[in-house]
Amino acid sequence: MKNGFAVFFAVVVVLGGSWLGFVVAPALQLGKAKQATILNSTDTWPQQRTGEATLGLQIYRANGCAACHTEQIRQDGVAAEVTLTGLGNSKPDDLKAFVHSLFVLPELAKLTNDLATTLKDWKGDLPTTILTTGDKAVADAFADRLKAAGAKSETRVVATGADLPRWGVRRSVAADYLYDFPVQLGGLRVGPDLANVGARLPDANWQLLHLYAPKLSVTNSAMPSFKFLFDVRKMGSAPASDALNLPPAFAPAAGYEVVPKLEAKELVAYLLSLRADAPLYEAPFSPVTSAKP
């Protein structure tokens, strides 16, 4: 073949280039990934799954859940929110006047409209979020000015995007998948994203009912019923402790009960282990803490 070497060389370059880019580079970046540390904490993330949940991943895989569900939350941006938590000695009107006096600052130029709208209807109730901006430095400078005026404020970091806060509090990061094998990323969202379902819907009983009869809790659900993960059997003298508590429309014939098979319990254990709700260095946000005592 004429130019055989040139063709061979071109093929090696193209395949080798893709291999370097798609295999070697990610392996160098993340191949030795270890547990991450949760922000402002000594706890590590994620925790190894329980044996039951690890088996549940294989049930998830076998039933093709990833065909309709993704496990990846996307984030479009990030915002810093300044929340007013205390007024100090000043009255709400004093603070309003003070904030209005800051409108001449060049860094607040684009935010004056928002600030004015927020403050217009504000009657002094606390805590209240008064400023939201994509520039952390502006938020910090604004908080410093509030502090100088005697007011107390807290700057919170919030992840933003269409997936948030519907399905989670932050984007999915590489560390979330550390113990998944194989990773069930999914590519199509017929159903909701499940990356944070363990935190969104933490009730194991709800999950079992939803697997048995999806239309029970979500009337227009497109999810097929996974009845084959349950046994419908004759009831003994009393219902089994793990029998589903079904409403009449979905209940089996009288004298029968629905009990989850081992597979259903493992699948639910896996679903409840899916969480993406800890703040990490690569996906920071301020968690919501309960009100102070």
Partner: protein
């Protein structure tokens, strides 16, 4: 009169062959320029191929700026961190204490007191002699474990104790600790009885 076109190629029986020609210079230049711009883009948007930096963050500085460092969550986390490093060794990470070693903090009347004066004196001055905790007498010495801690850390750890393990009591601020530290006389370790004589 007809003329033969002079540029008409001479008929030939030879097979056509592919020949190699040099790539035009503009393609080489454009490719190099695109490569350069591509690397500049990656450098600008991924913190020089850092695994932790990708959209919506474009640089290490930006990601660093968005780390939440203040607020109630950060203070509580800092308190937990200091507690586990300094206090938890004897009092237990669950606040239950250790028999014969340290009294429990969970549900302790010293921790849950309305004022924090006596509570703050324990880590600041230390304890020597008997101390009643939840109706049980402890006769142990505690060094002034908190004397070397910064005001903010001590305040955070006391706030953590007062709100962890089912405890529910008010917040301690760095200013409170500063005040108590400045008013402290001598700072000798005290027994429970001596502390009871102090204002709450």
């Amino acid at each position: 009169m007809s003329e033969e076109p002079s540029s008409c190629p001479a008929p030939t029986n030879a097979e056509p062959t592919a020949t190699r020609s040099t790539a035009p210079m503009w393609i080489v230049v454009t490719t190099l320029a695109l490569l350069f711009l591509g690397f500049v883009f990656f450098d600008k948007h991924s913190g020089w191929f850092d695994a932790k930096i990708y959209a919506p963050y474009s640089s290490a500085e930006q990601l660093e700026a968005f780390q939440p460092k203040s607020g109630a969550a950060a203070a509580a986390a800092q308190g937990k961190k200091v507690y586990e490093a300094v206090c938890g060794i004897c009092h237990g990470v669950d606040g239950m204490g250790k028999p014969g070693q340290a009294p429990p903090l969970s549900g302790s009347e010293w921790v849950l007191a309305k004022g924090i004066n006596r509570l703050a004196h324990i880590p600041l001055a230390g304890v020597s002699g008997t101390l009643m905790v939840e109706g049980k007498e402890w006769n142990l010495n505690m060094a002034a474990m908190g004397a070397a801690l910064p005001d903010a850390d001590l305040a955070a750890v006391l706030t953590y104790m007062r709100n962890a393990w089912g405890n529910k009591a008010g917040e301690v601020t760095a200013d409170d600790i500063k005040k108590i530290r400045s008013e402290m006389k001598g700072g000798q370790p005290m027994s429970g009885e001596q502390m009871m004589k102090m204002p709450e």
